[in-house]
Amino acid sequence: MHPVRKQRLIMVLFIVIFASVAVGLMAYALRENINLFYPPSKIAAGEAPVDTRIRAGGCVLPGKVQRASDSLDVNFLITDGAATVAVHYTGILPDLFAEGEAVVVNGKLNGDGVFMATEVLAKHDETYTPPEVAEAMQNAGEHQKTCEGMSYGS
């Protein structure tokens, strides 16, 4: 290769590597802030700030969703397998909200450790299945893996 071209090639590689390292360090420094939500175990461990707007994400614990009969109030528990956090919300829930499904809630943690949500988002998983297949899988005794399969990172 011509020496001038070789020099330019090294320059190009330098630009790419330098930019990668710079952005990598930036992402490393901001790693906590880039996360969209806190998992329940971090909230239970006291790592999440109290009375500040944060998001929490986890699985809705089956059988623990309590709806008020005279208002839109709803109470439920979310879990990541290690800990659970109680959530209180007033409003209309998204279509995909269901027991055993993942959600991301937006709101404030109060002093009692109850999460007062102002917004509930459904987090759907990466599986797509036709209804007949899903039915057959349930008949075969294979339980839905929505929550177990959900990735919580480390």
């Binding site: 071209r5 991301v104 797509y128 299945t129 297949v133």
Partner: protein, 245 residues
């Protein structure tokens, strides 16, 4: 011997004449793949047991996001070739790739928002995947703007190639964002190392749409590059001869 084709690419005229016959083929293949894939995916593929019919937007959302990322590499690599070998054709490809990529990124963002509203309950959320995708859109706009910002084409090529190269950092971040951080966006469905978590009856039309988008991208990029060749070579004899034919 093996490098002859590469050196021939240095001649925009050779490239223009060589690719003349490719256009109709690419057009027929891409349109038939896209039409078949879209009809299959939208009308014949089964609905999802949880999301119902709203998941069908995957047939536009995923291919356009794929090509937005792949198109960025096309742009950055041709920018690098233009920087290193001073190849005119590579600079033209880089310039042509920017608007196409910007449109694809925009389509991915808009279809994502439309999909997000019924399934997640929100149009937009600042999670790592969506935010890095927005950054990609701005990178494309930056390259387009830099191309127009200079009097001299050489300066414009150099500046936009450097921006494109710095921006390549973003591509693996977009790709891995759903694994590295907690995001609202779900992890990848089509996996290369393990079994994809989508039923085959839904996967085949999706793969067809992805292939169709790749061929369509090649077609649009080729057409755009060819018109860029004519614009930049308009003072040469062969272009004048072409115009008077």
């Amino acid at each position: 011997m093996g490098w002859q084709w590469f050196h021939r690419l240095g001649s925009p005229r050779w490239f223009y004449e060589k690719t003349n016959a490719w256009i109709p083929w690419l057009a027929v293949i891409s349109i038939s793949l896209l039409v078949t894939g879209a009809v299959w995916g939208l009308a014949f593929a089964p609905e999802d047991f949880k999301q119902g019919n709203s998941y069908r937007i995957i047939y536009i959302h995923v291919p356009s996001a794929f090509l937005a990322l792949a198109g960025y590499y096309t742009m950055a690599i041709s920018g690098a070739i233009g920087l290193i070998w001073k190849m005119k054709l590579a600079d033209m490809v880089m310039k042509s790739a920017a608007p196409i990529g910007a449109v694809l990124t925009f389509v991915a963002l808009v279809t994502g928002a439309v999909w997000g509203k019924p399934t997640w309950g929100t149009w937009w959320v600042w999670d790592a995947r969506i935010t890095s995708m927005l950054v990609l859109f701005f990178l494309y706009l930056g390259v387009i703007a830099l191309q127009e910002a200079y009097q001299h084409q050489d300066t414009a090529n150099k500046a936009s190639a450097i921006l494109a190269l710095v921006g390549t950092v973003n591509i693996p971040i977009i790709y891995k964002s759903v694994d590295w951080w907690y995001t609202l966006h779900q992890p990848a469905t089509i996996k290369f190392t393990s079994e994809s978590t989508i039923d085959p009856s839904m996967l085949y039309p999706l793969l067809m749409m992805v292939t169709g988008f790749y061929v369509f991208y090649a077609l649009v990029l080729l057409m755009s590059t060819r018109s860029e060749i004519l614009v930049r070579e308009k003072k040469t004899r062969w272009v004048k001869d072409l115009a008077t034919q």
